[in-house]
Amino acid sequence: MSVLKINGQSYTIDADENMPLLWAIRDIVGLTGTKYGCGVAQCGACVVHLDGEAVRSCVTKVSRAQGKQITTIEGLSKNNDHPVQQAWQEIDVPQCGYCHSGQIMSAAVLLRENPNPSDQDIDNAMAGNICRCGTYPRIRNAIKIAAEIQRKATKS
């Protein structure tokens, strides 16, 4: 038995400790916002936060996640209003939307670490997330909008 702390709740699951966290979250816990895209840490669709750090859940074993705070897209904010989510909504970033759980989780860590990212910073931080619909220009713009939203929220 493994205990996973996801979005502030504890889940006791019966899973092989080698099972990637992705499948434990999706198939056993039943939170489906985290996506499978490649299984080999290439595309970033499966990014979740482990104690606040962005990890690719498709190559992160259940054993490594035990005792840590796991945050998935469902737990990023209560009301779908994290600055990154607000910015994504403001300019309609998603098309099919499948990769965007991962995109948003990666962008959220970037903005926490670097509240005022340049284009180069955005490219460096987001190059691990593939979008087949090609929403990259909007991701770049939305991260700047999110930074602005975050700055305003910090001031007030």
Binding site: G39, W88, Y136, R140
Partner: protein
């Protein structure tokens, strides 16, 4: 127009289980002259009634739209309600969208050919305007006032002289008894409140918090997971398999051989059933399978292109279109060109790998999945399992990308086969490797382009292509060329260039091929538009000026816009500007790409300008998004990835060998949408084809190097 009998009024609704307390409007057939009907006036069996595009307004005033097409990113889930809300006079947020199941009553359901808006918008306008007029008529009757003194706004009918108001919900029962207006007046474009405005998509919020349900997110009680080891040569059989180690994997419950549909042939594989996706994947890795790959050729990519090249160099092929005498004009021309272009095989790589959830229940089958053509799945399963169509329930989820791949029936068929064997619900999950290696693919094609120039004018164009023809795969006549041969080519050239011919030299191999976003325009466009660039050099003319000589006024306006936004006329010689303009699915798109030399060698893309002319349009921001995405996808196919075969097997298995453009590869992109009074064209695909030729034409402008084979490396130019 079908006759509508006025007896036993609620008969249809009763049979359809819809009750009698709402206004239900639908359309007969999906063609452009469809007539609006009031469902409460239809008598008879709903299965025999060709109704589609249901709009239902209930007594609470809520509007439900039954979306018979798939949402895969292109935005019709939003754009169609934006059309409906306009003439219905309701707020966009008052419309609830539900996906329709596969059913002939909706007409053609295939979400492809960028067709959802362009082939249905007039019907949608007529349908909702009719509903509005019936609601106004109901209010006028209730208040005993003249119809023309009433108008509708935001879900209410208002009596202009007194300001008296009634909510649609109060009026629907009376409205449902009204006659459908024969000729309903539609708004002028200038009067639109919603159509033509960049309104935010109604599905965005679902897509920012993980709540949107894609195929892979479907869960059923008692559902098992399956992974399948499929024949790697795409058509072969299983000779034998050893499941000993697979069955030792914790969670694996069963292993069995299956056979799935691949167009009209079959491929075999071994299914591993488990209680999680992970266990199924592990079990699959532990399988040992011996394949029987006899009876078909095991091809190598080099041989494909060698044979195609020989074809276009030695055969005339099947003529698709011919005017004048291009052979004679070329033979006697002062200046001529004769060159070969090649485009590679490509895979779709939708971010959501293929998957399907199925539940075979003896006398019926229900499937759920990311499905582009639920009616086709219904047909295929009905045929394969020998069940009537109405016993095959096909449910569309949101699609995590489709690009043509999810219009294929192999994966729903396979899921149904596995569910039958298992006698329970199952979700079949394709690994990325399965998705990448099993096809079907966009076919690789070789083009021979010949042209003649006399006195700076194009005297003749002769195009021959050789590559797999999807139309032939799908049952078209194999001894006839079809429109795939000239897709992408701008129609006005036919009016203004005397000698033109298009021919297809047949080429067949056992690799399954299929539509890939923008289909043949995505490959033809590269050959046609690169070749026009070559001819402009040969004629000593500016590439856009040359095109103007042969294009019509509508295209001239698009060219004006391209020149204006890109600063084309102010560019310096050999500064690295390239242009391409293609037409597909009734829309014309032009791209201008600017490139420069990169530090450390090669070239980099500085900027892309795109102008889309899709005529009548709904949401300019969705159009811009589709063109931006098309540019990224076109760039991938031009300069990042290709599918190759060795000994009949696909060599690229995942993103590490089929690299995608990433955020750092994308230049600034500016997209403009033309405003005019023309009929609506497609949006999801036409933005893709011009990218590759505009890019290689820009590279020629900068370096003098002509790229005629895709993909190429920007770093190695």
């Amino acid at each position: 127009m079908p006759s509508i009998t006025n007896t036993s009024k609620r008969n249809f609704l009763k049979i359809a289980g819809l009750g009698g307390t709402a206004l239900y409007l639908g359309l007969f057939s999906s063609n452009s002259s469809a007539s609006v009907i009031n469902a409460s006036e239809i008598e008879g069996d709903p299965q025999s009634v060709e109704l589609n595009a249901w709009v239902i307004i209930d007594t609470s005033g809520k509007v439900t739209f039954v979306d018979h097409r798939a949402e895969m990113g292109q935005g019709s889930y939003h754009s169609v309600p934006q059309i409906l809300a306009e003439e219905l006079e309701v707020g966009l947020n008052d419309i609830n969208v539900v996906f329709g199941q596969g059913n002939r009553k909706y007409g053609n359901q295939i979400t492809g050919g960028s067709s959802t808006i362009r082939s249905n918008y007039k019907n949608f306008l007529k349908l909702t305007a009719s509903a509005r007029e019936m609601l106004i008529a109901a209010a006028a009757a209730k208040w005993a006032v003249p119809h023309q003194d009433c108008y509708a706004e935001l879900g209410h009918v208002i009596h202009r002289p007194t300001g008296k108001r009634a909510h649609y919900g109060e009026l629907v029962v009376a409205a449902s008894k009204m006659e459908v207006p024969k000729d309903v007046k539609l708004k002028k474009r200038a009067d639109y409140k919603l159509i033509g405005k960049p309104i935010r998509r109604i599905d965005t919020k679902l897509k920012t918090n993980g709540s949107v349900i894609f195929g892979l997110d479907k869960k059923l009680p008692g559902m098992m997971y399956a992974a399948v080891e499929r024949n790697p040569r795409l058509r072969g059989k299983v000779k034998s398999f050893d499941a000993t180690n697979a069955l030792k994997v914790p969670g694996v419950t069963k292993v069995f051989k299956i056979k799935m549909l691949v167009f009209k042939t079959y491929r075999e594989g071994v299914a591993v059933i488990a209680n999680s996706t992970y266990a199924a994947f592990q079990g699959k890795k532990a399988l040992k399978v011996e394949w029987d790959d006899s009876g078909f050729e095991h091809i190598n990519t080099a041989d494909i292109f060698k044979r195609q090249e020989e074809n276009v160099k030695t055969k005339e092929g099947l003529s698709y279109k011919k005017q004048g005498d291009p052979d004679k004009a070329i033979a006697t021309a002062a200046r001529k060109l004769d060159v070969v272009y090649q485009t590679p095989y490509q895979s779709h790589y939708a971010m959501e790998p293929l998957n399907c959830t199925a539940h075979y229940q003896g006398d019926k089958i229900e499937v759920w999945g990311p499905i582009q053509a639920p009616d086709w799945v219904q047909d295929a399963l009905s045929g394969e399992f020998g069940m009537p169509r109405e016993k095959i329930l096909v449910n569309m989820t949101f699609l995590g990308g489709g690009f043509g791949r999810k219009a294929f029936m192999d994966y729903p068929h396979e899921a149904a086969v596995i569910s039958k064997e298992l006698n329970g619900p199952v979700q079949v999950v394709w690994s990325r490797e399965d998705d990448a290696t099993q096809g079907p693919y966009r076919p690789g094609i070789t083009y021979r382009c010949e042209g003649a120039i006399n006195n700076g004018k194009i005297e003749a164009l002769k195009f021959r292509m050789s590559g797999q023809n999807n139309g032939h795969w799908m049952g078209g006549k194999k001894d006839e060329a079809n429109d795939s041969t000239s897709e992408g080519f701008l129609a006005p050239y036919f009016d203004n260039i005397k000698n033109i011919s298009f021919a297809d030299v047949p080429f067949e191999i056992p690799i399954p091929s299929m539509w890939w976003r923008s289909v043949y325009a995505s490959t033809n466009g590269f050959a046609f538009e690169s070749f026009l660039d070559e001819l402009s050099v040969e004629a000593g003319k500016d590439p856009l000026a040359l095109r103007r000589e042969y294009l019509d006024e509508r295209c001239h306006k698009l060219i004006d816009k391209l020149e204006e936004v890109s600063g084309w006329k102010k560019r310096k010689k050999n500064e690295g500007y390239g242009v391409a303009i293609t037409e597909c699915f009734s829309s014309t798109v032009g791209h201008i790409v600017k490139v420069s030399r990169r530090d450390g060698g090669g070239v980099k893309i500085d900027k892309v300008w795109a102008v889309m002319d899709c005529g009548w349009y709904v949401n300019p921001d969705i159009i811009r998004a589709q063109v931006e995405g098309s540019i990224v996808m076109g760039l991938g196919a031009a300069a990042f990835h290709e599918v190759t075969f060795k000994d009949g097997m696909t060599e690229q298995k995942n993103f590490y060998s089929y690299p995608m453009p990433r955020i750092n590869d994308i230049p600034p992109i500016e997209v403009y949408v033309m405003d005019n009074a023309e009929d609506a064209g497609g949006v999801g695909e036409p933005g893709l084809p011009p990218l590759a030729p505009a890019l290689t034409n820009a590279i020629f402008d900068l370096t003098g190097k002509r790229i005629r084979t895709l993909p190429f490396s920007l770093e190695a130019v």
